[in-house]
Symmetry: C2
Subunit: 541 residues, 2 copies
């Protein structure tokens, strides 16, 4: 059966998501989409996969590797190698649609066990073969590309089990390749939850969460993945790094955090011990508000985070453009309640939605919701019930799957995100908006979704018709200016997407020559032959 590039690019999702009619009509209008745009899919990617580059592994090497991992766990066919050539960065999807895979891996290997990983890393280290650890391939930073070929290490096939649940310590030990839904389902059956729900949840793994230093939608309450990790087990070319599961300790500096955010450059994470919490969805309280301006909403958010009365778990503000789009696509604009809102001074182009959920003990969630409502009211926030937040939660993963149908329309679309202190947040947001709006026909939505006492993230989603036959270049130029604008306005290069190869060129300026030099020394220690996810990652050599 013919295997096409299109099979690969669907964000791992077998469903072909469609854009609903209301949204499509809005986009048609904003982007002046032609009939051709709507009927002929742009860069369909329907060609059969054929790789020009053959595997550069020798027969002897392939046999050696088979001895370690087993015949059935090594694949060198074109589809397998193409399938592990790219993550989900926008230009990677463009290249897939065009059938361009310059540097596929030489083989895809699925180790059966931690010990297999040890043997594979040792073998590759001796033979100078690159290793790229791969989870759900949801990287949006070119973090799982294979510019030097080598082995794509598929951890999801076998290393996908929960090893131990400790109900006294409220921790779980899990293998790196377990996908989010299977992990959460396993815990739910026992009455627990992991508390980590990144937008990539359905197609990302626990090991990927750690390697890319992710943050989930409940991070304001539960913290980022780094706050949840108790212990890691990592295979590096220099040996195994494993820490004990102490609740805390002062034994000099800790070594295992170096691997959080290492994006495969130091070793292969095989096991993770994480905190868990009781699953009590029936206790969760929801609240939604609307504010008269972004500044107002951000002020209320900051006051809530600094009030010391407990914290929401989900905490989110959409800026006016994202709010307007939400009103329009939900058909809310025509409703009577919208007239009331307008009469009260909550005007399109200015108003902002805030979503809140609070998890935990049933009295606690009610208590915190009450305090949040009081604070929001003081800041002129208008309570609009729990419905909008619940609705948002129901579709929280699916917006990422809209990228394919949008690209089919010839619409360039991507997301970029940053962390910023409160005192720089509004300026950063305005500057980035001003930059993006220089481009004609652009939808540019911003939200805040991970909140701290001293600042928050800003998450930007942009849509704009691509320059056909100049797609990569169009995007790359636009993206460069966007990151420059963020960086020049005191935003971090990333809050939770990571650096990969996409943001690597900015790293030295962002973290300093001295920090890069220290990072390189650490890389050189764990990976002296430079086999771990080599070439262009994180600003390292």
């Amino acid at each position: 059966m013919k295997k096409t590039y299109r099979e690969i690019l669907k964000w791992g999702d077998k469903r072909e998501q469609k854009i609903d009619d209301i949204t499509l009509n809005i986009l048609k209008k904003i982007f002046s989409l032609s009939k051709q745009d709507l009927t002929e899919k742009h860069l369909l990617g329907d060609n059969e996969i054929k790789l020009e580059k053959k595997t550069s592994l020798s027969e002897v090497q392939i046999n050696d590797l088979k001895k370690i991992a087993g015949d059935e766990n090594i694949h060198t066919d074109d589809f397998s190698r193409a399938n592990f050539s790219y993550g989900k960065y926008y230009t990677e999807l463009l290249l897939l649609r065009k059938g361009l895979i310059a540097n596929p891996p030489d083989a895809v290997i699925a180790p059966k066990s931690h010990n297999d990983v040890v043997m594979l890393v040792n073998y590759c280290n001796e033979n100078m073969i690159p290793i790229i650890p791969v989870g759900g391939q949801s990287s949006v930073t070119k973090g799982v590309e294979t510019p030097k070929g080598g082995i794509a290490l598929d951890l999801t096939k076998h290393l996908n089990q929960v090893l131990e649940v400790n109900t006294i310590n409220m921790t779980v030990k899990v293998q790196a390749g377990m996908f989010g839904p299977a992990f959460e389902k396993y815990l739910n059956k026992l009455g627990y939850s992991c508390g980590h729900f990144p937008q990539s949840f359905e197609f990302s793994t626990v090991g990927g969460w750690v390697a890319a230093k992710g943050a989930g939608q409940a991070s304001t309450g539960y913290g980022r993945i780094d706050d949840m990790i108790v212990a890691l087990k990592i295979v590096t070319p220099e040996g195994i790094i494993e820490n004990k599961d102490y609740p805390s300790k002062a034994e000099a500096w800790d070594t295992y955090p170096l691997f959080i955010g290492s994006e495969g450059t130091l070793g292969v994470i095989t096991e993770i011990t994480m905190k868990i919490r009781k699953l009590r969805p029936e206790n969760t309280q929801y609240a939604s508000f609307i504010f008269k301006s972004f500044e107002n909403a951000v002020y209320a958010m900051r006051k809530i985070m600094q009030a010391d009365f407990g914290k929401p778990h989900l905490f989110r503000i959409s800026d006016p453009e994202e709010t307007d789009i939400a009103f329009k696509t939900k058909g809310f604009e025509e409703k009577f309640s919208n007239k009331v809102l307008k009469a009260l001074g909550y005007l399109p182009g200015k108003r902002c939605l805030m979503f809140v959920s609070v998890e935990g003990d049933t009295r606690y969630t009610k208590f915190v919701k009450r305090q949040i409502k009081k604070t929001a009211k003081k800041c002129k926030g208008f309570y609009i019930g729990s419905g909008p937040t619940k609705n948002w939660l129901e579709q929280r993963y699916s917006s990422a799957y809209m990228r394919e149908p949008l690209m089919d329309l010839g619409v360039m679309t991507d997301t970029v995100e940053t962390a910023v202190t409160w005192d720089n947040l509004i300026t950063l947001w305005k500057s980035v908006r001003a930059y993006v709006k220089q481009r004609n026909k652009t939808v540019f939505m911003s939200h805040i979704s991970h909140v701290y006492s001293n600042g928050a993230n800003l998450y930007f989603t942009f849509l704009s018709p691509t320059e056909k036959r100049n797609e990569e270049n169009d995007y790359t130029q636009f993206h460069k200016g966007l990151i420059d604008t963020i960086y020049n306005n005191k935003g971090s290069l990333s809050h939770h997407h990571g650096i990969g190869r996409v943001l690597a060129p900015w790293m030295e300026a962002a973290v300093s020559r001295e920090v890069i030099s220290a990072m390189q020394a650490i890389k050189n220690h764990f990976d002296p032959n430079g086999i771990m996810n080599p070439s262009g990652m994180l600003g390292l050599k």
Copy 2:
């Protein structure tokens, strides 16, 4: 005027603390103290300070150093050098009392600025002169000894200012050498608090808190020092490491946390940006409970930490022996209420005190106290009002100052602490008690004072008459067995005292050869000539 060794050993405290009569009578009985013990101070340390070793710095070097830091900031006299020879480890105090200082620093230098530190580090790096950064000298792990001489870098004289308070982000930037009380007073005047109150608070610095990875008495609510740090500025022989004050980020792994717990081995921390919170002591709620057994109290503590209804800030349990001593020394044993407690089954030798405080918003503190009372009641905890907790807080720093008068009596006394998961806590506590109780005439008190969802610390205080004329050896043998027992029963080497030179021999076994090797590579990168707090620190070369 004659300067004696005794001037130095008083924990920096100019007061000569006395043991109150009730306590003294208890000790007399338990330890069978003789009249001579009570009247003649053991190892008084009253000799005049005279160092055998002269400074090994050349005149040229001293002049060069004077050019950098100024004449008035360099001291090479015997008292200054003796004063910076030791921290506050038990055997260090013994050596001081005996007038034995084998390896004083060659000079004490107080840099005027961050730039002075840069120049001093560069100069010492070129000239292979050791540097030992010093804050309040409260190390109880031989962390500020100078076995190879060199420069004791006194950061407290000039680098002791708040540089900036950001009331939008709720952060403060402070120089490393500022002492706890001055720092807290500065913040209090503006209506804020730092939230970090280690027992060494009165004689420790912000930089010391970071370098030793400390935890304060409110750590259950506010976290350890690592949870409070937003940014650090550090001078290393390889250059300056400084991170930005983002609330969070995913720019590969972070480098500045390597310096948290580095104990001076990688560089000199000069500036710290920390979170602050509103000062609202009037909102704080206090609660005290008594439980029928240690197991009961620990169970209640765990349930409270895993309930997800908010957290106490101070959270503490004393084991039966510590509880009994508290009852006796407070004269509570004779009171009527004690008869009631006994009648209710809260028996001496078994019962345990629990102290709680909750800080923050006034409704929050009341809410959380209510939930804690309910949970404690379910676990058969008896509420005994807010008084005992308040009383404990009033004298929370002073018990450390009892060491000198105890040593005057010939009583060996020290504290050791560890972190342990819930499932190992009771076994560890019992094993350590069994070990200590092999020794005759021993008071051995344990408490838990830093609590997490997955475990807690255990803090041990022991008192026992020393073998006179064999004091160091007596202590060292006893201490070795104690640490072995902790380690063999799954406790960490330290929860918040750090490693220094005292626990260094256990490090490789505790963290693994691979981790030590990685730590050494990091040390070699930042400090290629090995000038930073050299010789025997943290298990490193």
